[in-house]
Amino acid sequence: MKIKRRMIEEKAGFGLLRAAAFLIIGVILFLLFDIFSKGSGVLSWEFVSQKPAKGMTAGGIWPAIVGTFWVSLITVLFAVPVGMAAAVYLNEYARQGRLVRIVRLAIRNLSGVPSIVYGLFGFGFFVLSMNLGLSVLSAGLTLGLLTLPWTITASEEALKTVPRSYREGALALGATPWQTIRTNVLPYAVPGMLTGAILGLARAAGETAPILFTGVAFFWPMLPAFPKVLFSQFMALPYHLFIMSTQHHEIAKVRPLAYGTAAVLIALIVLMNFIAVFIRYRFRKKFKRV
């Protein structure tokens, strides 16, 4: 009798633990199923390659995809070099003292700042003070700031995986600290850094609040060519989804379009995550041999 009770307790306990772990899979499966089943009706080549038509009740989302692309590009070009540089400084050069602790504290706090606050800051700083206007540039830089804490942290983690012996070995052969970092640390850390950058970007690409005040437009079907595009307003997938589901004058009618937009956005982000996982996997394999 006693044994039976113990077994039941055991099973119930592990059952709960297992349920907690599987809950997360359930959530993502439900989410994907819901979005793709409701959006699949509109998903087609035309949907992703054409402009919205008839007051956005028909047509596709091509301008929003292009807009998201340009903004993401600016985000990457800003956040990756700055994040890498900051990480190299913090991890390789800086004397680990009070100043570095303060910088790290600032980074941690920045990652907790609500994205709408980044949007306000971007509006005040990039749009107004720096006079960049409502533009791809302002929005991209704002999202760049948002991803910076992730980029820095991921880059530092990547630098920490490079064995100390690589650094010592190079220094003992008469390499300068910068030569050591350039030839014997960065090459082995860059894949890890890129992984972090892509994950940060995947987050940024789905953000609405930061671009709300800095450049995204309700309807902006024609983006000018480079370089004019940098100073143009634009459409973006997350914002397009937002207006299609809350701001449109015929919400019920465009609901499938909203789901279709969500599906495309999620597909893009999942793709980015896969690329990040792939890079990390290859990186790990390379290091296993060390």
Binding site: A170, L171, G174
Partner: protein, 258 residues
């Protein structure tokens, strides 16, 4: 301190050299002379300061936060801790091989050429020649000459350590510092490294840290015994091992403590 008959042969000297890790004193006023073209072994129990001493000779300890030195280390009359000293230049003259072999995840060729390349040497034929010479000097050439472009990570442990020695030799240092270079190797690989040391002695001055008493007795010309941060006894290896002046040295080398 042993009296030197001929001061011209002395390459490196330390005078009352002390080293601190923050508040902890790891070396206490060490004074010793290292002669050219000889092998000097540093022995002593773990934590006695011998590795710290070795790493002080080319300022590898500079990287450690809170490290501080007192006294002098003179390389041919130049105070290596002096203000005007270029650490990079110093490390080219005083190179180091580590306890755990640390080949870079590059090809064998690129490993050996590393030191030259960072000095700006781009001439391919110069690099090829120096890589071959260095690998021959490190007694590794015959084993790797047909696969110089393969990853150094695929070599055996003993080969990797000899590669690291070749890499250090390629920058043509005057002094080679070795921190237990054979402690992670099997007896055959160890023997190869020891034979190599005899060869290298003709052209280089070698300072080696070792935990292995037999090894110190076999390979070195001079032996320095460290204990608790102090240099206890220093003299010709034969004298230190057969007729130590101090009881503590005798106890250590005969295995009564440590």
């Amino acid at each position: 301190m042993r009296k030197r008959e001929n001061m011209d042969n002395i390459l490196l000297t330390t005078r009352d050299f002390s080293f601190y890790y923050g508040p902890v004193q790891a070396l206490k006023a060490v004074t010793l002379d290292i002669e050219k073209f000889r092998i000097t072994a540093l022995i002593g129990p773990s934590g006695c300061g011998k590795s710290t001493f070795l790493r002080s000779l080319n300022r590898m300890n500079d990287i450690i936060p809170g490290a501080r030195v007192e006294g002098k280390v003179m390389l041919e009359g130049m105070d290596i801790y002096g203000k005007d000293v270029d650490v990079v230049d110093l490390r080219r003259r005083v190179s180091m091989v580590f306890q755990k072999s640390n080949p870079f995840p590059k090809s064998i060729f690129d490993n050996v050429a590393y030191g030259l390349r960072i000095q700006g040497e781009k001439n391919r034929s110069v690099l090829i020649q120096r890589v071959e010479e260095s690998l021959k000097d490190a007694a590794l050439w015959d084993e790797v000459k047909d696969r110089l472009d393969q990853s150094a990570m695929d070599l055996s442990g003993g080969q990797q350590q000899r590669l690291c020695i070749a890499r250090a030799l390629a920058v043509r240092p005057e002094i080679l510092l070795m921190d237990e270079p054979a402690s992670a190797l099997d007896p055959i690989a160890t023997q190869k490294v020891e034979e190599l040391l005899f060869q290298l002695k003709k052209d280089y001055t070698i300072v080696i840290v070792t935990h292995n008493m037999q090894q110190a007795a076999r390979v070195s010309d001079d032996t320095a015994f460290f204990y608790m941060g102090e240099l206890v006894e220093f003299g010709q290896t034969q004298q230190v091992f057969t007729d130590p002046k101090l009881k503590r040295t005798e106890d250590y080398i005969t295995g009564r403590f440590g």
